[in-house]
């Protein structure tokens, strides 16, 4: 069963949504940024996160929620969805660019919210499966020896994972089990550049 992190300062919504999704997910709840950080930093692996942006003490801005999203994208491989009452044309674009999977506005009908979570769950599942093994193919030049083949294999693997994560360096590093700095080193080494959006 996948783990769903619900972050909302409104305990009434938190409890209702928790009840709604408790059959499909292992639901964990957080009412503030601090609580969310504790869960993210714990050993629990979060697959999907549904985050309200207006968290205390700044319930009417996206400051705290954005920090939670940043932390989630940085430290986990979860699919992050936003469910917020904040109204702004810039926020959705800004957050999608950060790597958020979906941006939903409150109030949303539960069947629609379910659909969005199921979509995220499906993507997460596919990613997990595809991350278990990656097929690489290349022609090894014998004159470059083993070193040349290893470099080519590394380059292709990095390419594939970057494509899967939409060039998210944090996620790529995590999947490959290397540090961010190492990831940047390989990008430079293999002259891989971020594609234009």
């Amino acid at each position: 069963m996948q783990t769903l992190l619900l972050v909302d300062d409104d305990i009434a919504i938190l409890k209702q949504l928790s009840f709604t999704f408790s059959g499909e997910f292992n639901v964990v709840e957080a009412q503030s940024r601090e609580e969310a950080y504790k869960i993210i930093e714990s050993s629990l692996e979060i697959d999907i996160a549904l985050v309200d942006l207006g968290l205390p003490p700044y319930e009417n801005s996206i400051v705290e929620g954005k920090l939670v999203v940043e932390k989630l994208l940085e430290s986990t491989l979860s699919k992050v969805l936003i469910l917020t009452g904040q109204e702004s044309k810039e926020y959705p674009q800004e957050l999608i660019e950060m790597g958020v999977f979906d941006y939903l506005q409150k109030p949303i009908e539960i069947p629609m919210l379910k659909q969005a979570l199921q979509r995220a769950s499906f993507f997460k599942d596919n990613e997990s499966n595809s991350q278990e093994s990656v097929k690489l193919s290349f022609k090894a030049s014998l004159k470059d020896g083993l070193k040349g083949s290893a470099d080519e294999a590394q380059k292709q693997l990095l390419h594939k994972i970057l494509k899967q994560t939409s060039f998210n360096i944090n996620q790529t590093s995590k999947i490959l089990g290397i540090s961010r700095e190492n990831c940047y080193y390989f990008l430079k080494k293999f002259k891989i550049e971020r594609p234009d959006v």
Binding site: D10, A12, Y58, K106
Partner: protein
């Protein structure tokens, strides 16, 4: 030769004395005028026409018979129609927000009076444009507050709607007795927060409870209510005193919610804040003292004013609402710093059964 020099020096001396006298006369009048004009400060959001009339009256003795103007700002126009007079001075106003002109009708616009009139007009123009700018700022600030208020209400309304959407879905999809039981447990956790949200919206809408209804009064265990909110806000609090008191429970809850909610918000910046609560009752007078060891009130006398907030996010309606409720209940709420501790004192008289 000596006679010629003597005549020359006398002439220079006489001319210098005349110039000094001339300037002395101008400066003396000017100082009088400036001190007069500086005393006429516009009141907050004062009508511009009234303000100019006030200036004109005090300038009468300075030879200013009338002030005509035609000024446009923020889609508004204020004007006093100009009549053709013999002696007048005009100046145009043209800044980014204000356009128009001011004309002085004067008794005399010759000699040194010409300079004085020019300066009077210049000072009037400065005062009027300052007053209009202040007015525009006040209007903008009000709009900002109203729009902030709407955003707050919308945000809370959306949350309430979201709660009902989820609750409706859950109720429709309950499939077993066990689930029903579990749902009731979940629902119990939701009642208080939803009540808080609804109360907040009512406060923002300035809906006041009808206090005349005696049925709304009951014997209230204030200690229990305070304890409930202390636990809800997870405050590190020391509560002293017990009190059973006949009052309007809903209103008292709203007041406690607002006061303790403010301390809870402070804890996001300083988690070590301690709250001190003291309850006491002498005959029919009940007193509730709430203080904390966080930052003192910057302006204690303004805490209860509407739209006063020290939080960048706040709109300053909570404490105003609390004070309105307490006053409607015939009590009093005071905010002050005691030994640097921000303190809220609530005094209420017990309602007769």
């Amino acid at each position: 030769m000596f006679e010629q020099s003597y005549l020359y020096i006398t002439l220079i001396g006489f001319t210098s004395l005349s110039v000094i006298y001339y300037f002395h006369k101008i400066f003396k009048n000017l100082l009088k005028l400036l001190s007069k004009l500086l005393q006429i400060q516009p009141q907050e959001n004062q009508n511009i026409t009234d303000y100019i009339d006030k200036m004109q009256k005090s300038l009468l003795e300075m030879g200013v018979k009338n002030i005509f103007y035609d000024i446009r700002y923020s889609k508004k126009r204020v004007y006093k129609e100009y009549t053709q007079e013999r002696e007048f001075v005009t100046k145009m106003i043209d800044d980014s927000l204000i356009k128009g002109s001011i004309t002085l009708e004067v008794k005399n616009n010759r000699g040194e009076n010409k300079i004085i009139n020019e300066l009077i007009l210049y000072v009037i123009m400065l005062q009027v444009t300052n007053a209009i700018h202040a007015k525009i700022n006040t209007i903008n600030a009000s709009f900002e507050k109203i729009s902030k208020l709407q955003t707050y209400m919308m945000h809370d309304l959306k949350n309430i709607l979201q709660f009902f959407q989820a609750m409706q879905y859950n109720v429709e999809n309950l499939s077993s007795k066990e689930e029903e039981q579990r749902f009731i447990e979940f629902l119990q956790n939701s009642t208080q927060p939803i009540n808080r949200k609804v109360n907040k919206i009512l406060a923002l809408l300035q809906v006041r409870t009808t206090l005349q209804e005696t049925s709304s009064y009951s014997l209230v265990d204030v200690h229990a209510i305070i304890l409930e909110y202390v636990e809800y806000f997870k405050l590190d609090a020391k509560i002293e005193g017990e009190c059973l008191f006949r009052t309007n429970e809903e209103n008292l809850r709203t007041v406690v919610d607002n006061v303790l909610g403010n301390i809870h918000d402070k804890m996001f910046h300083d988690s070590k804040i301690k709250t001190f609560i003291n309850l006491s009752k002498k005959e029919d007078l009940f007193e509730l003292l709430i203080s904390d060891n966080g930052d003192s009130f910057i302006n204690p006398q303004e805490v209860l004013e509407p739209f006063y907030s020290t939080k960048s996010e706040g709109i300053g309606i909570g404490m105003y609402h609390a004070s309105t409720l307490i006053e409607l209940m015939g009590g009093r709420i005071e905010c002050y710093n005691e030994e640097n501790k921000p303190t809220v004192k609530i005094s209420l008289y017990e309602e007769k059964s």
